[in-house]
């Protein structure tokens, strides 16, 4: 059952990730990316990370992607499907990406034996959200507060950048 779910979600994820990168129309690209992010949330649920999966759906699909779609509507995409989608130096970029993939694959082949056997079963305990919340508010309290300051800075910065005149 787990294997079936994993391979289904992985196939959906990879398919929609490739479609996101190759689609002509940015609106389609955004919709494909939403599907890929939902499949990724399913993988998080499969890994017993319910809180991260829920945050993924709420923040990415509900927040970031809606923002992206708004911006796509604001800037003119009418001519987008007629313009070439790849940049002039796409061959260099593709070569660099292939080099990166080979490097990562080589490193993974060397280290993959350490994770070949299945993981030990998880210890029974409190729910995932409760444990993550306790950890977030005890051990990682300072980073948590810094993250809230970062969000405030990003909020003010985005308003300043996007506004016509202050």
């Amino acid at each position: 059952m787990e294997a079936f779910l994993f391979y289904t979600l992985a196939a959906i994820l990879v398919t929609f990730a490739i479609l996101t990168v190759t689609a002509h129309n940015p609106v389609r690209s955004a919709v494909y990316l939403i599907s890929a992010l939902l499949a990724m949330a399913g993988l998080f649920f499969l890994l017993r990370a319910e809180f991260v999966g829920a945050v993924q759906i709420l923040v990415y699909v509900g927040g970031i992607m809606v923002l992206v779609l708004f911006v796509i509507v604001l800037v003119n995409v009418g001519q987008a499907s007629r313009e070439p989608r790849a940049s002039r130096r796409w061959k260099t970029g593709l070569a660099l990406a292939v080099v990166l993939a080979v490097e990562l694959g080589f490193l993974m082949l060397r280290g993959v034996g350490s994770f070949a056997e299945s993981a030990p079963p998880p210890p029974a305990g409190a729910g995932n959200t409760e444990s993550v919340g306790l950890l977030l508010y005890n051990d990682y309290l300072l980073p948590f507060e810094i993250a809230s300051v970062l969000l405030l800075v990003a909020l003010v910065g985005a308003v300043v950048l996007a506004k016509k005149e202050l």
Partner: protein, 100 residues
């Protein structure tokens, strides 16, 4: 049986697809979306190791990554809007004001 290495290989594939998107596309909005894809691949790695090691710190860190991604998307889209207002373009090869 699905092991951690399955998740690592999947994460590698998604990350590489994101890199291809960043390096080959012209539209700056699509480039931003490819960056989101790469950040998500990293999150998958963090959560997979968190599940394997039974240490929730990985999940806490992926929450932080999502926070930073939200901030980055907001600022990035603000830049795109003000760029479009000034230069009437969203294509990276036409944005060459600071190119030597």
């Amino acid at each position: 049986m699905i092991t951690t290495s399955h998740y690592l290989v999947l994460s590698l594939i998604v990350f590489t697809v994101g890199v291809v998107g960043v390096l080959t596309r012209r539209n700056v909005i699509v480039i931003l979306m490819s960056i989101e894809l790469m950040l998500n691949a990293v999150n998958l790695n963090l959560v997979a190791f968190s599940d394997r090691l039974h240490d929730l710190a990985g999940q806490v860190f992926s929450v932080f990554v999502i926070t930073v991604a939200a901030a980055e998307a907001a600022v990035g889209l603000g830049i795109i809007i003000s760029l479009y207002r000034n230069k009437e373009t969203v294509y990276v090869d036409e944005i060459d004001l600071m190119k030597w």
